[in-house]
């Protein structure tokens, strides 16, 4: 018998905290009411669905709601409780919910070269699914991880996912998340990463489905010469809202981070981007960049951008930029002059806009997978 939120097994933190409210700065422009999950119970047993094609070289793990139905790898172990995520970007209640109730997940302890793991979450049922993922990369090790969220059927499932990525000196990680939930479901994703020493991480998300997404990405670069790349492609249409909050924390000298978020908005789609580059006192020699671009495809879409900087050291190079515009008439004209009709031309330019992010993965397998998700979304909206 699954416990309800009214009587969680771990009392304390969760009960003391409040659901997000409008006045919290981290929820500015956001649909804070969507985050109130009171009354929701964990979803029961999951269903099996059609799985996407296997990815070459990757070991596949499949979850149906809270149950691991397939997959094994010497460097991967199963979690039966939450690792205890923290939310520093406005959702401590949701983090506490995960801590109290998450019962499944994986821990990847990458120690060699070429570890490649694919995790598929098939979710169903009108309830909560709360997976955990811990990725720990040993010094000089190298890992690639794909995590996919897929709805089975048309239930309104609420996914609360928490991720903790830790890289040791000289480690390298590429981590791609694709979200293709149905338009009744919600995703709340709390993603933390910490880079020690001269490590290099690329984290990317592709948001195609879901009614509402709240994603909090907190990247800490704590080691000199650490490099964090944070990428996102979001493609909301009518009835979809993607609320992404990011934090690029530079805690040591000579650290690097680069964030590129591109949103292509269709129908009445809505996006909220709030990012902050935070440079600690003494973190001199920091290079930090943050760019959020919104491509407005219709007259009814809506984009909010809050790119922020807090700089406490002087020898730094930091910049952020945010733009919102539509496909320019010149570009359309150029393609029309070459025999492509206006509609295809617009979609061609928009695809190119997303592909600029995907090319930054610098990994053919991950790029092909991401492109496939993007292409399918474009086909469904046009």
């Amino acid at each position: 018998m699954p416990a309800t939120l009214e009587s969680p097994p771990v009392k304390g933190k969760f009960d003391l905290l409040d659901w997000p409210v409008r006045t919290v700065e981290n929820w500015r422009f956001g649909s804070w009411k969507e985050a109130n999950l009171s009354g929701l119970e964990p979803a029961g047993a999951g269903k099996s669905g059609d799985l996407p094609a296997e990815v070459d070289g990757f070991t596949r793990f499949v979850f149906e709601n809270g149950t691991l139905v397939s997959g094994s790898h010497p460097q991967v172990s199963e979690l039966n409780q939450s690792f205890g995520p923290e939310s520093k970007l406005g959702s401590p209640k949701l983090a506490a919910l995960h801590e109290a109730q998450s019962k499944h997940g994986l821990k990847i302890s990458a120690s060699g070269e070429e570890t490649a793991i694919e995790i598929i979450h098939c979710v169903s049922g009108d309830g909560l699914v709360m997976p955990s993922l811990v990725i720990e990369v040993a010094a000089k090790a190298n890992v690639r991880v794909i995590e996919r969220f897929i709805s089975v059927g048309s239930d309104a499932t609420t996914v609360v996912s928490a991720v903790d990525v830790k890289l040791n000196d000289g480690a390298e990680a590429k981590y791609l998340v694709t979200q293709e939930l149905n338009l009744a479901s919600k995703l709340i994703r709390l993603a933390d990463s910490c880079l020690e020493g001269a490590s290099n991480a690329t984290q990317a998300v592709i948001h195609s489905g879901a009614k509402w997404v709240r994603e909090e990405t907190y990247s800490t670069v704590d080691g000199s010469d650490g490099k964090s790349h944070i990428l996102s492609v979001a493609l909301p249409g009518t009835g979809q809202e993607f609320d992404q909050r990011t934090f690029q924390h530079h805690g040591a000298r000579d650290t690097f981070s680069d964030l590129l978020f591109k949103n292509t908005l269709f129908g009445k789609g809505k996006t909220i981007f709030s990012g902050l580059i935070f440079v600690d006192e003494g973190a001199h020699g920091t290079d930090a960049y943050q760019t959020c671009r919104n491509l407005m495809m219709t007259d009814e879409c809506e984009a909010h951008s809050m790119p922020g900087l807090e700089i406490n050291a002087d020898d730094v190079k930091c910049s952020h930029g945010s733009t919102s515009a539509r496909v320019s008439d010149e570009e359309i004209f150029y393609l029309q002059a070459r025999g492509i009709d206006a509609k295809s031309a617009r979609s061609l330019v928009a695809m190119g806009f997303s592909i600029e992010v995907i090319e930054k993965f610098d990994d053919e397998t991950l790029e092909a997978l991401a492109l496939d998700v993007v292409q399918r979304k474009f086909e469904s909206v046009s």
């Binding site: 984009a303 790119p307 922020g308 900087l309 700089i311 910049s319 733009t323 539509r326």
Partner: protein
């Protein structure tokens, strides 16, 4: 006392002797410490205000008391304001008179180095209650009056020009806009009311200095400027010289209304002494084809929170904020801009440059709002920050909301320091490190400084040099 200040005092005395100065009665009106309903009634009584103003003040007090401090997004330094220890109304006569001996020597030195005219020094230091400018500007005033320009204090405006004043008063910035606009509405005194009739283009910039026998830089000044169809005006407040102050809270409200095709430029140079909280609400309403420009320079104060805004209500209206901020040790310049697009084909531009010296902190906070079903709105925002020392700090928090695909917005911000190569290059050519730094900093803000009227920009450059002194080398 050095000979310089002695001369200044002598000049002042001589002028007094010939009867050019008229001092109001000393310590005549003082509402005491703290803010209650009685304080408000006292102010209304002293100012002999109509009943509607008194009622307006009382409502504002309720709003002020009911609103929380905005510390959920703003600095917690706000909690250090002790509202009970503030005197909310002192008429001119009651301003504590100072002697030259009480004015800190560094202020005097600054006057010297900036080349402030001696007549102005006495006023700026607070040794004199007023700055006598009648002789210098009487021609200007005459010309203005002939064209039908109204340029009076806010108190005079609401009494003598109620028919023009009242329809717009509190309309651009309603009392409940924020806690400090409510405070201002409750205890406002000082400030200007300006009305420019249709088609009149005022050639000379108007300055608060010009007004005679008025409370010039009030703690809670309230300014309303209405530019009627097709008119143009430039208004300047403040000055580059440090204004020596003992009051610690300044909370002004400035409302601008530009009717069809009108153009208003509002220039501020803020250099309050570094114990002052400067919490200001400034907003303009631009009708069809109108243009409102805020040109803002913040150098002084302990904490400044000021985000001049433009509501572009009519088609093709234009809004612009040009801002320079310099934050030195112990200072936080929290400035920015608000651009609300409310009609088709409206355009706005924000250019903000800040310099953080020593442990100073400068913040840019901006809002751009383009609602649904509008066409052809454009916004450009640029903010650049320059950090001089290892403990200097800068923050940028813009928020841009765009609905629909017929608009273009772009926002860009950068943070940098003066490069070693640049300094080395200049040092090779015979400048010392401090000179080289000053040249680099002046280069950084040069294009913005040129937006200020000429006499201001000359003083500004000197002032920035002065502030930078000792921070390098």
């Amino acid at each position: 006392m050095n000979s310089e200040t002695a001369t200044v005092q002598q000049v002042a005395l001589e002028k007094d002797d010939v009867g050019n100065f008229s001092y109001p009665e000393k310590h005549k009106y003082d509402a005491g410490y703290g803010l209650t309903k009685d304080t408000i009634d006292y102010i209304s009584k002293v100012k002999d205000e109509p009943a509607w103003v008194n009622e307006f003040r009382h409502k504002a007090l309720e709003v002020f008391e009911s609103k929380p401090m905005p510390t959920n997004w703003a600095t917690e330094d706000l909690d250090n304001i002790e509202f009970d220890k503030i005197r909310y109304y002192l008429s001119d006569g009651a301003k504590p008179k100072r002697s030259w001996d009480e004015v800190p020597p560094e202020v005097l030195e600054t006057f010297d180095r900036l080349g402030v005219p001696e007549q102005e020094r006495a006023f700026l230091a607070g040794v004199e209650a007023q700055y006598d400018s009648e002789a210098a500007y009487s021609n200007v005033k005459e010309a203005l009056a002939e064209e039908g320009v109204i340029f009076v204090t806010c108190s005079e405006g609401l009494k003598e020009h109620e028919e023009i004043f009242r329809p717009w008063f509190g309309k651009v910035i309603p009392t409940g806009d924020n806690k400090f606009s409510a405070l201002n509405s409750a205890v406002m005194s000082g400030g200007s009311f300006i009305y420019i009739p249709k088609g009149v283009k005022v050639k000379h910039p108007l300055q608060a200095y010009f007004r005679i026998n008025s409370e010039n830089f009030g703690q809670f000044e309230r300014t309303l400027i209405i530019a009627d169809e097709g008119s143009e005006v430039m208004y300047m407040e403040g000055c580059t010289a440090p204004k020596f102050e003992t009051a610690t809270l300044h909370s002004a409200v400035v409302e601008l209304v530009a009717m069809k095709g009108a153009k208003i430029q509002y220039v501020t140079v803020q250099n309050w002494s570094s114990n002052v909280y400067n919490l200001v609400t400034k907003r303009g309403l631009a009708h069809e084809d109108a243009e409102i420009r805020w040109i803002d320079c913040n150098i002084g104060s302990r904490l400044t929170m000021k985000y001049p805004g433009v509501i572009m209500k009519g088609e093709r209206a234009r809004g612009e904020v040009v801002s320079i901020a310099l934050a030195n040790d112990g200072q936080h310049q929290d400035t920015g801009a608000k651009m609300i697009h409310a009609a088709n084909h409206t355009t706005s531009n924000v250019v903000s440059k800040s310099i953080s010296v020593g442990e100073g902190r400068s913040t840019y906070r901006g809002q751009v709002h383009i609602p649904k079903h509008l066409k052809g709105c454009k916004n450009n925002t640029e903010c650049d920050a320059l950090l001089i020392n290892p403990k200097s700090r800068t923050d940028t928090y813009p928020a841009i909301s765009v609905k629909g695909n017929q608009h273009v917005t772009q926002h860009e911000a950068s943070v940098s320091q003066v490069s070693e190569e640049m300094l080395f290059y200049m040092q090779q050519r015979g400048l010392n490190e401090a000179q080289a730094m000053s040249l680099a900093v002046n280069g950084f803000i040069n294009d913005l400084v040129s937006e200020f009227p000429m006499e201001y920009s000359v003083e500004l450059k000197r002032l920035i040099d002065l502030e930078m002194e000792g921070s390098v080398g």
